[in-house]
Amino acid sequence: MLELTRVRAGYGSFQALFDVSLEVRRGEAVGVIGPNGAGKTTLMRVISGLIRPTAGSIVMERVDLLATPPHRIVEIGIAHVPESRRLFPRMTVEDNLKMGGFLPAARPKARRRFDFVYELFPLLRERRRQLAGSMSGGEQQMCAIGRALMSEPKLLLLDEPSAGLAPVVVDLVFALVQRIRAGGVTVLIVEQNVQQVLRIVDRAYVLKAGSIRAAGAAAELRDSAIIREAYLGV
């Protein structure tokens, strides 16, 4: 479904990704794990079009993402839940979700999508008139994921969904991600929290200092030394 081939990207003179290649097949849940500064967020941004790669190719269902203007990438079916949520703080939950469904193609379905998101996150229905900025971290995360789901994406990109959340809340979030995945949405998650993410993904890549160091089924990676090496350097 999604294929990255030898992607290079960075910020100005600082290069963050070196020849990264990975793929995500339809229906899968794939994780990208790695320590801080590995380039995980850059990877997400390059896929969703927030930044452009300097080399390589990114193809989604045979559509060349690099030839697509950034604001049309969501039309192709990719929704990105950014790092630290990035909700619109002075807008209500409802308005935030509405923005998720901004796509002309998504607007006729708005009612249904709202129902879907509220069913998945009943808390959001309760708080739909609350200002997004006044919610707790966990609530914001749910709102951010809900917002991404409004456009009925095929591929959901989750950037460090557990960041800054209490362990109990993290469990809840990952459980919800599993439900979403079970509903047919393909998921790509980048995470620092190895244990949690390996429990819900099929495969994972290990990213360190901008390059893929290893890849494999979640079960294999869980016990392997590769991860320890990537994180601790031992």
Binding site: L50, P70, H71, P82, R86, F88, M91, G100, F102, L103
Partner: protein
């Protein structure tokens, strides 16, 4: 009520009426700043052009007022888009000072163009609207009309921003510009729409102001600086703040002008502004980072 009180009450009421129009002005400026992060220094000059348009449409071409107003609003809306596309868009990445200076250049340009094209004489719409006498006070119908129209305009904008997808996107982009593409929003289109809206509001303000004041190339200097002060005090980009500040300033101008020449009203307003900076800096720190 003594005569003294009647005059004061009249000034207070006129202040409210003036406040409505000033609030409309500050809304336009705040919209553009909140969304595009640029201040249109030449905003008052756009209004000036709108006033001239009304003058010509009404006096020279004898168009009915409502039609003239509609044409005026659309015309100035188009001017707003032109301003954005020709001057602002190329400078979006540049230092904010450069953007200010560029719109300053446009201000110069527009004032001079008006001087050359229309001459420096004061021109009047020649519309004599009745003056209502209410409880011993004289309230100009033109002012009431302007106030009403300004309120309606602001309500329409409010509804647009609240209810429509584009309006919601405009509010959103003011809060987090970078992630807008993730939702399929083309920022450039939003900027153009906002510029049109800002221009349209200026056009509406022009229709209202031309009912009460003469137009000449430098008429923008009468309310431009005040609009800026209102927006700064209310917090650039803060619609609610601008709304309140507009009425406060309008009252100061109106009451100040009661006892002294009109210009002193502006001076008091500025002095008030300086004083407020000492007293309530929080109101001024409601800015975008």
């Amino acid at each position: 009520m003594g005569i003294f009180d009647v005059y004061l009450l009249e000034a207070l009421i006129n202040g409210v009426l003036l406040g409505g129009v000033l609030a409309l002005l500050s809304l336009g400026l705040n919209l553009v700043f909140g969304v595009i992060d640029v201040v249109w220094i030449c905003y008052a000059e756009l209004i000036m052009l709108g006033m001239y348009a009304m003058y010509f449409l009404s006096r020279v071409y004898h168009a009915p007022m409502v039609l003239a107003a509609a044409i005026c609003i659309v015309t100035v809306g188009v001017l707003g888009v032109l301003l954005h596309v020709v001057v602002i868009a190329p400078l979006l990445g540049a230092a904010p000072i450069n953007q200010l200076l560029a719109t300053g250049g446009v201000l110069f340009f527009l004032q001079s163009a008006a001087t050359i094209l229309f001459g420096i004489e004061f021109k009047n719409l020649g519309v004599r609207l009745p003056v209502l006498k209410v409880a011993g006070m004289f309230i100009s119908y033109a002012r009431l009309l302007a106030f009403g129209a300004a309120l309606i305009g602001m309500v329409l904008v409010y509804l647009f921003l609240r209810r429509t997808y584009t309006g919601t996107a405009i509010r959103a982009i003011a809060q987090d510009r970078q992630i807008m593409t993730l939702m399929g929003v083309d920022s450039r289109r939003i900027y153009v729409i906002t510029s049109a809206l800002g221009g349209g509001l200026a056009g509406l303000a022009a229709c209202l102001l031309v009912l009460q004041y003469d137009v000449h190339p430098f008429v923008g200097l009468s309310f431009g600086p005040i609009t800026f002060l209102i927006c700064v005090l209310g917090g650039l980009g803060n619609f609610g703040g601008g709304f309140v500040a507009a009425f406060v300033f309008a009252e100061i101008i109106s009451v100040g002008g009661l006892y002294l020449d009109l210009e002193w009203g502006y001076v008091f307003a500025f002095a008030f502004f300086i004083a407020m900076m000492f007293v309530r800096p929080q109101g001024l720190l409601a800015r975008r980072s």
